[in-house]
């Protein structure tokens, strides 16, 4: 039981980290709130399903198209919605929230509900660790999660665009004086974040069915991880994913599965009361309310 929990806990942490990466990139690092994140996740899943089953394209091509479309949506949302509402307080949150809702419920309207909506796994089969069997897909998820995290960590520290992402979150005005076009960079960051959501969807969704409720859960989980870890800190995301991931798995195995969601809530509650900017936040004290 313990080994099972340890292994699956790790997988769960990887899943959470993967989910949070895209959200963290746009919101934590570039300062652009994208509450349509869950919607883009589900959208990518359904789009892949459609291109695979209704149109009949090969797997890799479908995946590629989905990721591209997601990135495109990210760009469009930025230029059409976010740019116009930049002045008003948190209107980005409201607008993207509304948009995300519209997208998700639109799928529900067109009856994309049911067990037939699944995505194929990347590799079939499973491997045994002692008496615990883990399917290759889950290991694949872990691999992608670790790989992407590393990539993003290096990217945001050593590439021009990555550093530009962080610049516009820290101080947009100063970034502008350095010649960083904050609009273009913001749009690119949203496209990146959306693409990450798509990648996460493609590797995670094969574990179950593509359910619209999943979109809301993704948003909640991503928020939980980012709040606990501290917006903007990749290290924080990792630590938070491990904490929450293991807490959820332990709860599921030793208590009851449906208490899992509560773990996220309790984590948020504890963190917000003790150290609101998150465990590893880079944000200065003054920005948090006194």
């Amino acid at each position: 039981m313990l080994l099972c929990t340890l292994i699956y806990g790790f997988i769960n942490s990887c899943i959470l980290a993967l989910l949070a990466l895209g959200f963290n990139l746009t919101f934590g690092i570039s300062g652009v709130a994208n509450f349509a994140y869950g919607a883009i996740y589900i959208f990518s899943g359904f789009l892949t399903w459609i291109t695979l089953n209704s149109i009949g394209l090969p797997y890799l091509l479908s995946v590629f198209i989905s990721i591209l479309c997601a990135a495109l949506i990210g760009l469009l949302v930025y230029y059409i919605v976010i740019l116009r509402v930049k002045g008003l307080a948190l209107s980005e949150v409201i607008a993207t929230f509304g948009l995300g809702l519209a997208i998700m419920e639109l799928f529900r309207y067109f009856d994309f509900v049911g067990f037939k909506y699944t995505l194929p796994v990347f590799i079939d089969g499973s491997i045994g660790f002692g008496e615990v069997y883990v399917d290759y897909q889950r290991l694949f998820i872990a691999l992608i999660a670790v790989g992407l995290t590393l990539f993003l960590y290096l990217f945001t520290r050593h590439s021009k665009i990555g550093l530009a992402f962080r610049a516009i979150a820290q101080d947009e005005r100063t970034a502008l004086t350095f010649g960083i076009d904050s609009d273009r960079i913001g749009a690119i960051s949203m496209a990146f974040g959306a693409a990450l959501a798509a990648i996460a969807a493609i590797v995670i969704l094969p574990l179950g069915t593509i359910a619209i409720e999943g979109g809301y859960e993704v948003l909640i989980n991503a928020l939980a991880v980012c709040i606990v870890g501290g917006l903007g800190s990749t290290v924080g995301i990792l630590v938070a994913s491990v904490l929450i991931g293991y807490a959820q798995t332990f709860t599921a195995n030793y208590l009851e599965p449906h208490w899992m969601m509560l773990v996220s809530l309790i984590a948020i509650a504890i963190v917000l009361t003790i150290k609101p900017s998150g465990l590893f936040s880079r944000q200065k004290e003054l920005e948090e309310r006194i």
């Binding site: 200065k284 004290e285 003054l286 006194i290």
Partner: protein
């Protein structure tokens, strides 16, 4: 011979922001009725010091005592109710409101309610009177103008009036003179003198040294968060380390 107890006593106040030592072991006493100037190069921690005293930022170590009471780390509204008021370096009034409406909020505070026994009548009238005291010409109806349309000189006076509305015993003015012409400064100085005459203790953070030295009793200098000199104006400017801080040292 008994020295009167200091109104404000700051001891070893220290504050750092993520490794940057903004204020380091700053201590000073302030007697009632004094006008103390705080000067220093940009980034030397002057505004942080004010934030520490007025509760906007919590220190890492050190104490702030006001009338013998330990107010270190208190919330700003509690400190204000004790009688300490401050102005902000960046003046940011409520731009869409007329000037006198900007005064309503300080007049709404519990301190004013307590001092006037809850009966101040019309807040608007009190606001207009206060604004007249700081130089808003009554017959030109300047006080009715929307704050966004007023020039910097008036906005600074509005800021001062907002602090005065709280009927403080100690006012801390953060770079009140910045951005003002010589004439405007000259017209505000009498208002400050009148405050002194009423017995109000004043701390002024300033860059305009000549104007400050004319009215300050004493001055102390901050550099990289540390106090490097304390005394009457001219004396302080002769101090070697002060000269080095402002002007730099000679290269060999």
């Amino acid at each position: 011979m008994n020295q009167p107890l200091p109104l404000l006593k700051v001891s070893d106040l220290t504050k750092s922001f993520g490794g940057v030592m903004a204020v380091l072991n700053v201590s000073f006493d302030l007697k009632e009725g004094e006008l103390l100037g705080i000067i220093g190069p940009n980034g030397s921690g002057k505004t942080t010091l004010v934030n520490l005293i007025t509760g906007f930022v919590k220190p890492i170590s050190g104490r702030v005592e006001y009338r013998e009471k330990n107010i270190t780390g208190w919330a700003p509204y509690k400190i204000v109710s004790l009688g300490i008021a401050r102005t902000f370096q960046m003046v940011r009034p409520f731009y869409q409101l007329p000037a006198f409406k900007n005064m309503i909020i300080p007049l709404y505070s519990p301190r004013v309610k307590k001092l006037t026994g809850g009966k101040y009548g019309d807040r608007d009238a009190v606001a207009l009177d206060l604004l007249e005291e700081v130089g808003f010409e009554r017959d030109a109806h300047v006080a009715y103008k929307v704050a966004g349309s007023l020039p910097q000189g008036y906005l600074k006076r509005l800021e001062l009036a907002k602090a005065m509305a709280l009927r403080p015993d100690l006012i801390i003015l953060d770079e009140l003179f910045s951005g003002l012409s010589l004439a405007e400064v000259a017209s505000i100085v009498p208002i400050i003198e009148k405050l002194r005459f009423q017995g109000i203790t004043i701390i002024m953070i300033e860059h305009r040294l000549k104007e400050l030295f004319r009215i300050a009793d004493r001055v102390f200098v901050l550099n990289y968060g540390e106090k490097i000199a304390d005394g009457p104006g001219e004396e302080v400017m002769e101090n070697e380390s002060v000269k080095k801080a402002y002007l730099g040292s000679e290269t060999e």
